[in-house]
Symmetry: C2
Subunit: 273 residues, 2 copies
Amino acid sequence: MLELQHLEYLTVIAEEGTMSAAAERLHLSQPALSRSMQRLEASLGLSLFDRGKNRVELNEAGLLAVAHARAVLSIASEMEQRMEDYKRSLTTITIGSCAPGPLWQLTPDISARFPGMTLSTYLKENDLLDDLKKDICQIAVLDHPVDEAGLICRPYVAESLSILLPKHHPLASKSGLYLSDLDGITMLVYAHLGIWQKLHDEKMQQIHFIVQHDRAAFNDLISASQLPCFSTNLTIQFSNAAENRTAVPILDPEAEIRFYLCAKKKNRKYVEA
Amino acid sequence: MLELQHLEYLTVIAEEGTMSAAAERLHLSQPALSRSMQRLEASLGLSLFDRGKNRVELNEAGLLAVAHARAVLSIASEMEQRMEDYKRSLTTITIGSCAPGPLWQLTPDISARFPGMTLSTYLKENDLLDDLKKDICQIAVLDHPVDEAGLICRPYVAESLSILLPKHHPLASKSGLYLSDLDGITMLVYAHLGIWQKLHDEKMQQIHFIVQHDRAAFNDLISASQLPCFSTNLTIQFSNAAENRTAVPILDPEAEIRFYLCAKKKNRKYVEA
DNA sequence: ATGCCTTACGTTATACGTAATTATT
DNA sequence: AATAATTACGTATAACGTAAGGCAT
């Protein structure tokens, strides 16, 4: 029967060009590698190399075998990855979220309810459902509901955007603003916005953003400057950026996002209220 | 590293339900199988079975592993099949043809030009190009030309259909006939028509066919009866069915098919004139 | 008692490394 | 000389079968 190890060796030889180089990369002696290839050839009943006295070269059968070996190894490696992900899911709860906001509430909540489990979170706009199915995450925070066999989904918090303006700013007295009212202004913004990035890209092109990728630097700038920035109903609870500024709600409908928690049915306990 | 043999064992256990039954099917002792599964579990770092004192049952991780194992084994098995096909192509020329006619000329021709090679032919209407790419056949006889990278293609014979009628038959004096002229008549026909079957299905529904699946029986019937049957420019050279009958060409345009020979470029010698 | 899984033990096969061999550059 | 592959040999690991043990039906 075919052996995955032999296929792995074969592909490395194909990449390195010589058995010596491949053996080194595989932390293996040349003789061992040479014999493994002889065994592979024997098990296939085909010679895979044109052999000179001190060089080998893949022949046509060898090239064909390499192509197929890569396919086999790729599927096998996916299997190993999936099993690893599953193993991980036994001891850690991983939350994939399309936005940072919901995590500020969800993370401590899950952490408190499942004290034995490690908690891990990441931000990603797309394909969270795939991650869920592959056990890459156990909870997905989405911006839309899902109705799919094997999955459970429930509405979670809504997040609504406000702009924090200096108290003396001409717009600070308004009870609400549209994004179009902000034409030409300069704002501070923190980089990792998740799904909110879409709104920035599509409806805030007329706003000049100073983007900060570092959270500490962002907070320092907020405190030290009078520049407007965004807040939401979720951020207000966790950040103290609002001290010298007035929050004015954004009235565009896209400025409110309803989030949904989604999990495999076997993990329903993670998303139940 | 994962071992294909272990994955194979695992899937058989999944199918048989118990290790004993699986061991029997695998021609293996139960203890050997039991230890192999322990090694597989160790290499994954996961237990795959719920173990009672005298029963095992796949757990969730086990079911996941089985699903992936099947995928891996399927790809591996395809690799083995492809390598077998390639090996075969070194000693035998296999011709896949969409109709029997071209083979009557091509087979002896190839046989004479490549005397060291075994020759094998089969009839198949579709997917001959796939077969070519997979080395299942080395020559494909198609009813249409192909222009594809890595393949070479050239026109081969055309085959045109005639009807063999008893000399005294009222239509036997015509110089040509349309299929529509044959409304209601009864004909003998040999079963394995390849691509010609399409013409039968689409434009000869008004003809009553007596189908023979056995070549000898067909020939006997031809000689013993006066029933009309088909011939082509290709059959006439190889069959003696025409003695008591007159050949009248079929004039419908679909009654002539131009065939094309197609092969991988490395096998161009097989299709060159 | 029978069936099913596991552990124990001895045998065989295979993979490995080191060392020696051969041929090429 | 140096490089690259193969062959030879001894050792360790793993697979196997047989035999024995434990627990359920």
